[in-house]
């Protein structure tokens, strides 16, 4: 089977994640869509690593996982803080900053 199928899958998942960030209103779900985008990039890295015969892509993927874990901690802390102040996790309610 054509290895490029993995690249198509990665692109599809990335686009779904990118649109999810724009469409969803719950801040946690928005962040989960960002995680989906990072996973899609990881799949692309691993596939290109296999195409090029070089482990660099897998290393990049590994670093992405570590960075994503740290980002999740910080992001969820910020979201929890917002929730505690407003009792709501919706990004629509975060509208104090006007144009």
């Amino acid at each position: 089977m054509d290895i490029s199928n993995y690249i198509y899958l990665s692109a599809i998942l990335f686009v779904i994640g990118a649109i999810g960030v724009v469409v969803r209103r719950n801040a946690i779900v928005v962040f989960m869509c960002v995680e989906l985008m990072l996973n899609a990039a990881n799949l692309a890295f691993v596939t290109f690593s296999r195409i090029n015969g070089d482990l660099g892509g897998q290393i990049a993927s590994f670093f992405t996982m570590v960075v994503a874990a740290c980002e999740v901690v910080v992001g969820l802390a910020i979201i929890v803080t917002m929730y505690r102040s407003r009792r709501s996790a919706s990004v629509d309610d975060a509208s104090l900053l006007q144009r």
């Binding site: 089977m1 054509d2 290895i3 490029s4 199928n5 993995y6 690249i7 198509y8 899958l9 692109a11 599809i12 998942l13 686009v15 779904i16 990118a18 649109i19 999810g20 724009v22 469409v23 969803r24 209103r25 719950n26 946690i28 779900v29 989960m32 869509c33 995680e35 989906l36 990881n42 799949l43 691993v46 690593s49 296999r50 195409i51 015969g53 070089d54 482990l55 660099g56 897998q58 290393i59 993927s61 590994f62 670093f63 996982m65 570590v66 960075v67 874990a69 740290c70 999740v72 901690v73 910080v74 969820l76 802390a77 910020i78 979201i79 929890v80 803080t81 929730y83 996790a89 629509d92």
Partner: protein
């Protein structure tokens, strides 16, 4: 399963079957994550996508990465998401009514546009892609190969990531750790009885109640007729706002007559 990824480039049935079974499920799960109302369902669908990707990593000769994906990403990160979702509101669901007009059709259009563009571009590019495969890179084993790269070429990035981990821990502490003294009710009552004398255990006496005055600025009387200082707020005492109770007591002559 290790041999699945060999002979790359030719039609290898096990890997093809694996891909064509799991990939549509992954895409459906991702779309589901986008479309379901409840946030907890989204989290579970994302966990499904991540497990599917872990299976793909193993199929693509990235054994270490596949296991790390399950353990770290799905196991730790997604569970953290689920914990926070439970805290923030397990019933929280987005309302289906969209505030911004035209957002939904615009986003569907953008999705189709961006997706179509990317897929067509990739289709143009991959007509002659020849995969080298990772058999040579993995000669000593996948874990050994990654270790070799990680600790020689990428050791600096590896060490700097520790700064990231410390920042995350520090940030979580700053935002979530409260330093107030959590004295429970039990502790408060224990402290009250351990004060040294039992005089105040029942609480302080209330201010005096008389025939013609019962506000907080008139003290109660002790058995010997003098005013009880603990029955008045210290602020009033400091300001000198205490009133004598004598004018408000019943006149003795009235009592004696009865």
């Amino acid at each position: 399963m290790f041999n699945m990824a060999l002979h790359v480039g030719s039609t290898q049935r096990p890997e093809a079957v694996l891909f064509w079974v799991m990939a549509p499920m992954a895409v459906l799960a991702a779309l589901g994550m986008l479309l379901v109302k409840k946030a907890v369902h989204s989290a579970l669908l994302l966990a499904w996508v991540m497990i599917t990707l872990a299976i793909f990593y193993i199929a693509e000769d990235a054994l270490f990465l596949g296991i790390v994906q399950v353990v770290v990403y799905t196991g730790a990160v997604m569970m953290l998401f689920l914990f926070i979702l439970m805290l923030v509101g397990v019933d929280s669901s987005d309302s289906l009514v969209e505030n911004i007009k035209g957002q939904r059709p615009a986003s569907i259009l953008a999705a189709l546009g961006l997706g179509g563009l990317l897929l067509s571009l990739i289709a143009r590019a991959v007509t002659n892609v020849d995969a080298v495969g990772l058999t040579t890179a993995n000669t000593a084993g996948n874990v050994q190969g990654i270790a070799q790269e990680l600790f020689t070429r990428y050791v600096w990035a590896f060490e700097v990531v520790s700064a990231l981990l410390i920042t995350a821990a520090l940030g979580a502490m700053v935002l979530a750790h409260s330093e107030r003294k959590h004295t429970s009710q039990r502790q408060l009552s224990v402290d009250r009885f351990r004060q040294g004398s039992l005089a105040q255990t029942a609480g302080l006496p209330a201010s005096g109640v008389y025939a013609r005055h019962n506000a907080v600025d008139v003290p109660a009387l002790l058995p010997d007729g003098s005013a009880a200082p603990t029955s008045i707020s210290p602020t009033l005492q400091a300001r000198g706002d205490i009133i004598e109770s004598a004018p408000f007591e019943l006149a003795p002559s009235v009592e004696e007559e009865n």
